[in-house]
């Protein structure tokens, strides 16, 4: 029952995370990443059977752990590691996004991740009639000739 509930929560988190990830605004993308990482932590959490269990501590007389009633400690260690790593990466990402925002001046993902090449047209300099010289060294005075 509890694992069904957790699965639904997980699915909602994944869905909302992916939705946010596909938005064009960088803050939403970050929130999407955050939600997805929570969903993944939950996925690790439900890896073993979830429910009220004993701590996995063995008694002095026993030789084995009663599997049916003890919790599996490993996924919790995995989640803890994943949380710490996710936190670190997210912190770096936040700083990176802020730096990029400062440099680019926009919070749209398109502007933050892609550079649209600026088209520069070559500067054309038109010749002026006054600058021309004829073969004999004189300048062509068109106005005079027209007269």
């Amino acid at each position: 029952m509890s694992s069904l509930f957790l699965s639904i929560v997980m699915g909602t988190l994944f869905g909302s995370g992916v939705y946010l990830l596909l938005r064009g605004n960088v803050a939403r993308v970050l929130l999407g990443i955050l939600l997805i990482s929570h969903a993944v932590n939950l996925a690790l959490f439900v890896a073993p059977e979830v429910g009220p269990r004993h701590a996995p501590i063995i008694s002095t007389q026993a030789s084995t752990l009663p599997e049916a009633t003890t919790a599996d400690p490993l996924p919790q260690a995995l989640i803890l590691t994943a949380i710490v790593i996710g936190f670190g990466v997210l912190a770096f990402l936040l700083v990176l996004v802020q730096q990029a925002y400062r440099a680019v001046g926009s919070d749209s993902m398109a502007a933050l991740t892609e550079e649209y090449p600026k088209v520069e047209y070559p500067k054309v300099e038109y010749l002026k009639v006054e600058d021309l010289t004829l073969r004999d060294g004189t300048s062509p005075n068109i106005v005079e000739r027209c007269k």
Partner: protein
């Protein structure tokens, strides 16, 4: 138990710590980094020697027996990649002295460099999948910072794409790990291999197929395989040449290593479900890589596309699934680590010398630095797969196994993409190297060059030396690679080295209170 299995991790970790301690003394940082890289290369050679007979060096961290603790295991595959890591790091490091400004040193270039190697070697040497995830994050974190360390607008932009795509890949990996643990109750690679083989012989392995697909996606993003390659050409060329060379040599190959280890060994009994899918991805990457290289307007971008093509060839070897084809994949990845990183350095040197690697304007390097041009030609021909260079041998091996498995499509794609990449190399040669550099006003700039500087020359010389060693030893290396492929297909030695008493059953776990260390031991019975 062999403490040597931790050495590839401890060396760069120690170097990172020493570099951090010597924060204000860049000279000491440089010295420590060089010493660590040299030691890593020597260690790589030593590991190659000590795993030559198929031995697996195993260290169970703090004596927790597998699969309860963290296992470090170095087999032939790990040794191959660890050696290439050492060599590539040394080459990139010496070259980087030319480009790393005091400002970058103050921002912690050397500690990050060593931390990256720490993560890469960790991923190659670990015997536990969750641990591999952690190493991935260690190396990614350093690579994130290294990519954006100069802080230019272009790098920040590339950095965001790079970080986001890698976060997605890590997410896929982590979900897959959760599912894997839920189904098999272990994440130790040797134990997983055993359990998957058990389940598949009992015909119950079907639920593992989606997990395999997820892992495949996660590693393909890292390795830049066909549908997931789009982040690479935009991001890899942005940092300085030494960092690009390091990334090109190591990071995509970490993905290839993970694919080889997980799909080639752990999930090998389920290979039929993945191989056609993986083969298509590989063939399409080869095609797109070669075409992209042809269409690129700068040499760096063309090389970035050629990485994708190379990864495609390695993965085609994996997808064909025989011992020979896996061996071919190992050899091809190994040689391409050295060759690709060298090519990026050469193009970096061309840019430093002539100020351009643009195919339109040309560099005229053939006139100003014929030796550099020759170096470029040799490495590029190896990349294109022209005999007698190692790239050719790798392609030939893949081609042979494609013919053996009667896969006509693979054969055709390998040959055609090989021709296309030769064409791309010829294009680079004529447009970048041969063409004189002409300014807008028509003056020939070919003779106006900057001196290369000692660091670049030493870096390139080391790269050439590594290449030469590769060529001379290619026969031995191919034999070793084929043995590695056979060991991946039949991982008995790996499993028995990591789990000397077999997979533990609950009955074998003895009462922890009876032994003074409080650790769990397993009866040898």
């Amino acid at each position: 138990m062999n403490p040597l299995a931790a050495a590839p991790l401890i060396l760069p970790l120690l170097a990172t710590i020493l570099c951090l301690l010597a924060w204000r003394a860049p000279f000491i940082q440089r010295l420590v980094s060089v010493a660590s890289s040299v030691a890593l290369t020597v260690l790589g050679l030593f590991l190659m020697r000590s795993t030559a007979d198929g031995a697996v060096l195993v260290l169970q961290v703090s004596a927790w027996i597998a699969p309860f603790g963290i296992t470090l295991a170095i087999d032939q595959l790990s040794a191959f990649f660890a050696l290439a890591t050492g060599a590539v790091s040394l080459i990139a490091l010496t070259y980087s002295f030319a480009d790393v400004s005091p400002e970058l040193e103050r921002r912690g270039f050397y500690p990050l460099f060593n931390a990256l190697l720490f993560g890469v070697n960790g991923a190659f040497c670990t015997g536990d999948l969750f641990n591999m995830y952690v190493w991935f994050e260690v190396l990614l974190m350093s690579s994130f910072v290294l990519m954006t360390i100069e802080g230019s607008k272009k790098q920040l932009r590339a950095g965001i794409t790079y970080v986001l795509i890698n976060l997605l890949s890590s997410t896929c990996f982590l979900i897959a790990l959760g599912l894997l643990y839920a189904q098999l109750g272990t994440l130790n690679i040797a134990h997983l291999t055993l359990r998957v083989a058990e389940l598949s012989s009992a015909g119950q392995a079907a639920p593992l197929i989606p997990v395999g697909m997820l892992l495949c996606v996660a590693f393909s993003i890292k390795a830049a395989l066909f549908p997931f390659f789009f982040w690479l050409p935009g991001t890899y060329p942005t940092p300085m040449p030494a960092i690009t060379a390091l990334f090109a040599g190591l990071l995509t190959k970490v993905g290839v290593y993970a694919l080889l280890r997980v799909l080639g060994m752990v999930l090998a009994p389920l290979a039929d479900n993945f191989s056609s899918f993986l083969l298509w991805m590989a063939l399409l990457s080869m095609g797109t890589g070669a075409l992209g290289a042809l269409a690129s307007h700068s040499a760096r971008r063309a090389l970035a596309f050629s990485i994708i093509s190379g990864v495609g060839l390695s993965v085609a070897g994996l997808a064909l699934g025989s011992a020979e084809s896996l061996g071919a994949a190992v050899f091809y990845s190994f040689q391409s680590m050295v060759v690709t990183s060298g090519l990026f350095l050469i193009v970096g040197a061309i840019r430093a010398k002539t100020g351009s690697d643009d195919l339109q304007s040309g560099s005229g390097v053939f006139i100003s630095a014929p030796l550099l041009a020759a170096l470029f030609l040799i490495a590029a021909l190896s990349l294109a797969g022209v005999p007698p260079f190692p790239g050719f041998i790798g392609k030939l091996l893949v081609l042979q196994s494609a013919l053996e498995s009667a896969s006509t499509l693979t054969t055709v794609v390998v040959v055609v993409s090989g021709m296309l990449s030769l064409f791309a190399v010829a294009n680079l040669w004529s447009e970048l190297i041969w063409k004189p550099r002409v300014a807008v006003d028509g003056t020939n700039l070919s003779k106006t060059t900057q001196p290369l500087g000692k660091a670049r020359i030493i870096g390139l010389a080391l790269s050439a030396l590594a290449f030469l060693t590769l060529v001379i030893n290619s026969n031995d290396l191919v034999t070793r690679a084929l043995a590695t492929g056979a060991a991946l297909v039949e991982p008995k030695q790996y499993i028995s080295a990591v789990l000397p008493f077999g997979a533990p059953s609950a009955r074998q776990v003895r009462d922890a209170a009876n032994n003074p260390t409080g650790r769990i031991y397993i009866h040898k019975e």
